[in-house]
Amino acid sequence: MDNLNCFFSSYSTPDDIVPVPDLLKGKDKRADTAARIAVLAASNMLQEKPNIDLTSLNVVVINREGCKSHINKVSNGIKNHQPAQGFFVRGGPQTLATYTALALDSHGAAFTFVGDKNILSDAITTAFYLANNIDNGATLITVVVKNHGPGYQANSALILGKSGHLEGVSSLEEKTLHNHLSQAFELDAN
């Protein structure tokens, strides 16, 4: 484990009433619930590993549902020719990553993998590559799922880039990371 360059954290909520994260105060606060969970999970992760340079941080989120509740509101509104206010700030799964980047003032990559646990291994491969190849930065990777109850579960990992170790990802690192992130899917209600 000495070579491990990853740090882990988990975050969960008992229900779907989620306050605006402190990190979004003074910024755009219109994040949908799933995006708020992603930001709160990031905040929780960074308490575990403070004092890292977030400027070039890459944000990778894995989620299957996106902002389903907001999409439903939009669909219903269309029937009456009503545009949905805030649609473009709440309407897409990418907002889970972009709100996190906004909250952290991070200028690395920011995108969401939409899929189930089958995409996890590929997401981890790209997360390691980005951590090691963009400005010697780091990657925050988070799985956000709606759990069996009314709440959410988010498992995160912070991958720090290894200077001079660009291509190698040890199987131990990958396996440990995979196990941690996949635990969130075990709680997935879908």
Partner: protein, 371 residues
């Protein structure tokens, strides 16, 4: 990078395959007035959109587009793929697949491409950069030799609900997309898709492709400033371009062609031109620059892959089609952009494709034609 593009193909309102390329080179426009596509929903809206003709407004548009894309673009060689990665922004906004392009693509493949269905793992979502990012992420995975052959499939649709949101937001043009034009008022949203196979050297040996394009490198950045408006300083879009060039080991002077995002919204084109000047400096004047949204529309989550494919075709044909819709250049932008009705010779085989998406996501990819 050890990553190559083979069998790139795109489906748009202006056709697909060779037909699409000829139409672009001839300066044709595939846009149609919104009231002819959605007469009941938009009876008085004459602004032009890049809608695929002949689609029913009562069934899933994304599914209908997938059928066209699957039939026209996915070659027999796709059976060599070890992974299929999708890219889309939101897909349909109504019906059983509302906001669920993953579910829609999965359903399509299971029922129409059963050999590919088990290989489909997920969809990349980064708004209008999704199509560029799926290329870059596939390039990472073949470069790392996790896979040798990956199929990337980017699709998105413009249903009446999505157009309603854009009309309300003011991003849909009053008439049509006029990229980098002094009279530009917005973009022309559209729909369609692209498919390409991303391979490494080992994968290349398995396939016998006529044309091969190298992915030299890519760059991504996030503004982290505003959820819908771009960074007005152009700093972070420039960062994505600079990262792409750095990752490619190339200098700005090595680039012969830029397929710009060029949405035609007043702010996007201004920000993008600032970013290009920051990243390329004086060498920008020697590069052929164009945008294709005035011809085919803004294909939302598919736009990045489709425009990267058009970049491949432009490089292999050594010609940049004129920018349809551009009649009176906005001189304040000071860009060497090719106006509509003319094509421009590309002098170097290396091109850049850029996308700027909602959420402040910026992506750039550098491609070299090896043909």
């Amino acid at each position: 990078m050890d990553a190559f593009i083979v069998h790139p193909n795109a489906f748009t309102s202006l056709g697909h395959s060779e037909n699409l390329w000829r139409n672009l080179l001839d300066g044709r426009c595939g846009l149609t007035a919104a009231n002819t596509i959605f007469p009941e929903f938009f009876p008085d809206n004459f602004s032009k959109i890049g809608a695929i003709s002949g689609l029913s407004t009562h069934d899933s548009r994304l599914m209908q587009i997938l059928h066209r894309v699957g039939y026209s673009l996915i070659p027999e060689e796709a059976n060599n793929c070890e992974l299929i990665l999708g890219a889309s922004s939101l897909g349909d906004l109504e019906g059983s697949f509302a906001g669920d392009p993953f579910g829609c693509i999965q359903h399509y493949l299971e029922n129409n491409k059963p050999t590919l269905a088990p290989l489909f793992n997920g969809v990349i979502s980064s708004a209008c950069s999704s199509g560029t990012d799926v290329l870059s992420l596939a390039a990472i995975m073949v470069h790392q030799q996790k896979y040798d052959v990956i199929g990337v499939l980017a699709v998105d649709c413009l249903d009446q609900g999505k157009l309603l949101q854009h009309v309300t937001l003011g991003t849909q043009a009053q008439d049509c997309a006029r990229p980098f034009d002094i009279n530009r008022t917005g973009t022309s949203f559209g729909e369609g898709g692209g498919f390409a196979m991303i391979v490494n050297e080992r994968g290349l040996k398995k396939l016998h492709a006529d044309q091969v394009f190298k992915i030299c490198g890519f760059g991504m950045s996030c503004d982290a400033k505003h959820i819908t408006a771009p960074d007005e300083t152009g700093e972070t879009p420039a960062l994505a371009i600079t990262r792409a060039l750095l990752a490619s080991g190339l200098a700005p002077a090595d680039v012969g062609y830029i397929n710009a995002h060029a949405s035609g919204t007043p702010l996007n084109d201004q920000v993008e031109s600032i970013a290009l000047h920051k990243a390329f400096g004086r060498t920008l004047g020697n590069i052929a620059v164009n945008g294709t949204k005035g011809a085919i529309g803004h294909l939302l989550g598919a736009t990045g892959l489709v425009e990267a494919i058009l970049t491949c075709w432009s490089l292999s044909n050594q010609h940049a089609p004129g920018t349809v819709g551009l009649e009176n250049k906005d001189e304040a932008l000071n860009l060497p952009v090719t106006v509509g009705g003319f094509s421009e010779k590309i002098l170097k085989p290396i091109g850049l494709s850029t996308t700027l998406g909602f959420g402040g996501v910026n992506s750039a990819i550098v491609i070299e034609s090896l043909n």
